[in-house]
Symmetry: C2
Subunit: 394 residues, 2 copies
């Protein structure tokens, strides 16, 4: 496999004499691993089992996963990308990302949360490059400032590459959000860079706690973006999830052979169904700041996970710098005594009379009307459709 590397700058370990490379573009051992198995039911009826959120162009012309890859492309050649997804989505992903090697778009035979998915990537990459540094990325977030994002990643890669460090990108919170996990950061790095040691990963807080976190100043949203060497990750899994690690090593050993598909299908479901946070990061951080070697890079690159129709609406309004709600997609519209509505009804003329703060989404077979406040409950519609076995609608 050819290594198409861009010019590489030397990186030093944290605590050493770090000179930050502001023009970091790539790293010879950096491999983006994109997790794209989520269903994203909160964007129903636009999102479906075979057209999950990451495959939708919610913000601009390109889909969320296309944007994710494009954003990382200056840092890694196409053959460095791995995507972990499922059978429902794999073919659509291949169509959307034709430059990526098809055999690196891996469909899990069964959903087993993030720890096995990430672990599999680590064991696969170890076989290709013993010095591999994995970047783990969700596939359905937006980043307003991609240059700053890559600059932050470059620093993170340097820290991760230097040894047994784990780097997590922490989003500076802007509101007391109760839907995210938080990272409590400790002392600042002595060398004056902005990386911080991690004290603790916390679950989703209640509102009062979220407000304390926001006020405290040393809490960050867990972005789900991590950087670590493949061997660091492999060793962490061997320590914290030995059975799963052993299963994954057996699967990785068959990669590239005729046995792989069957081995994968038979063994992968034996992995524990657990998140990487819960399996590795939380227990590891409990060892204490000095021991755990987990570092948080405060990230200020306009991150938004677009977690609901409401979040998407706010994102569009912020970009348009307006408080008037205009249809997100329509062939024309007329509003009378109506404001701050999110509308997706391509090809339709949309008339709104006397309604505000609504979410209105129309597809060829479904119509959703809800409020911005309650749009996070749209997943319950999908639950209902699942229960009623209305398969065409999910």
């Amino acid at each position: 496999m050819s290594e198409k590397c861009h010019a590489v700058r030397p990186f030093a370990a944290p605590g050493g004499n770090v000179r930050l490379a502001t023009t970091v573009r790539s790293h010879s051992h950096f491999y983006p691993v994109i997790l794209a198995g989520g269903r994203g039911t909160r964007f129903w009826p636009l999102s479906r089992k075979r057209r999950a959120k990451q495959l939708l162009a919610l913000d601009g012309k390109h889909t969320m996963i296309q944007q994710t890859v494009a954003r990382l492309a200056p840092m890694a050649a196409p053959d460095r990308f791995w995507i972990i997804t499922n059978d429902d989505l794999r073919s659509a992903i291949l169509r959307q990302l034709p430059k990526l090697p098809a055999k690196q778009v891996v469909a899990e035979p069964a959903g087993r949360n993030t720890a096995p998915a990430i672990g599999l990537a680590a064991f696969l990459l170890l076989r290709r490059d013993p010095d591999a540094v994995l970047g783990l990325f969700p596939s359905d977030h937006v980043i307003a400032e991609p240059a700053q994002y890559r600059e932050t990643l470059g620093r993170g890669i340097a820290i991760a590459a230097a040894g047994e460090n784990i780097v997590v990108l922490g989003i500076r919170p802007t509101r007391p959000e109760t839907g995210y996990g938080y990272i409590e950061a400790g002392a600042a790095n002595r060398n004056g860079t902005s990386d911080l040691s991690v004290r603790r990963f916390t679950e989703k807080p209640d509102l009062a706690t979220a407000r304390q976190f926001l006020d405290a100043g040393n809490y960050f949203w867990n972005s789900g973006m991590f950087l670590w060497r493949a061997d660091t990750l492999a060793n962490a899994l061997r320590e914290h999830l030995p059975n799963t690690a052993s299963v994954l090593e057996r699967i990785a050993a068959d990669y590239g052979t005729r046995r792989f598909a069957e081995t994968f299908r038979k063994l992968y479901p034996k992995c524990e169904n657990i998140s990487i946070d819960y399996a590795v990061l939380e227990p590891r951080s409990a060892k204490g700041e000095a021991q755990s070697r987990i570092f948080c890079l405060p990230a200020d690159f306009g991150w938004n996970d677009l977690g609901s129709w409401s979040a998407l609406h706010e994102h569009h309004m912020a970009k348009a710098k307006t408080s008037e709600g205009t249809p997100g997609s329509a062939s024309g519209h007329f509003a009378l005594n109506a404001k701050n509505n999110y509308v997706h009804a391509p090809g339709k003329f949309v008339a709104l009379v006397g309604v505000s703060n609504l979410v209105i989404v129309e597809t060829v077979d479904a119509l959703l009307v809800t409020t911005l406040d309650q749009s996070q409950d749209v997943g319950k519609v999908v639950k209902h459709l699942d229960e009623k076995k209305l398969k065409k609608l999910v």
Copy 2:
């Protein structure tokens, strides 16, 4: 022209010894004239210029005009019906009512309100039957009790047939409606029937006045349904609108000849643009109860003019005897924390989350979302579309 009459019962003039015929089915000189030129913009986006409210099946399988004809069919053979409409609607009406004689579906060359339309019918019918009794009917109302409706009409025909009487069907008001004209009734008829002399026609009242009307007990909603002899109507027009009457007589004289289309097209626009209420009924009622000979028949046959999406919703809810709003038309639906919504979205699965009292109407090219309270403002959408010359949408 053959007269296919049903069994006929004798009718006496009011004040005479009236024996009410409870099985009245038809009257040998009764001709239903249906006014079907309205645009019905308040049902946009379902109603359009070429698919006005009267052509829509808003309540059941049949359209409003089909229901209007079917309701009157036991009282008059198909060749007795006349429909006054316009060029935008005529061909659709012919398709919906194939049994009616096409030449009696008359398209006005220009809209001139009800007085010329009704007057034309009178002058046309006078030439066919000097004893014709015209029944004037809107084409877009619902009647819950058609048997009772026909019974009332039968009594009205008897009163109208007896001479220079004008009969108006008055709807017993159930709420202080400000959108209708009212009829103030005077003394009850001495012979014990329920027909009342009319004191006054009033314009649409303000809310306080409407409440007084409701409390007073002798006020009725003007249904727009009238009965009078063709010669009574012709004479009234000659008296109150002499120029228009003369124009209409010249048009009627050419009916059935090759000249008719051109005469109609050239002369009809010269008619005054005025309603029959304003042109004839109000001035005539001002002559005093004894002189005017206008009689109001209190009508209790479940009349509803379905004047807005909200009225249609209430009508459906009343029929379904429920306060839960279920989609009026959808291929399935799911409601969570949502009630009393009117939905028309055929072929779609509709999900409503946290919304109440909305009107949601979807067509192939348009989507309307408004509230039950503000649904009467939908006409303003059409006004906007007219102004923007978005002809495909109106």
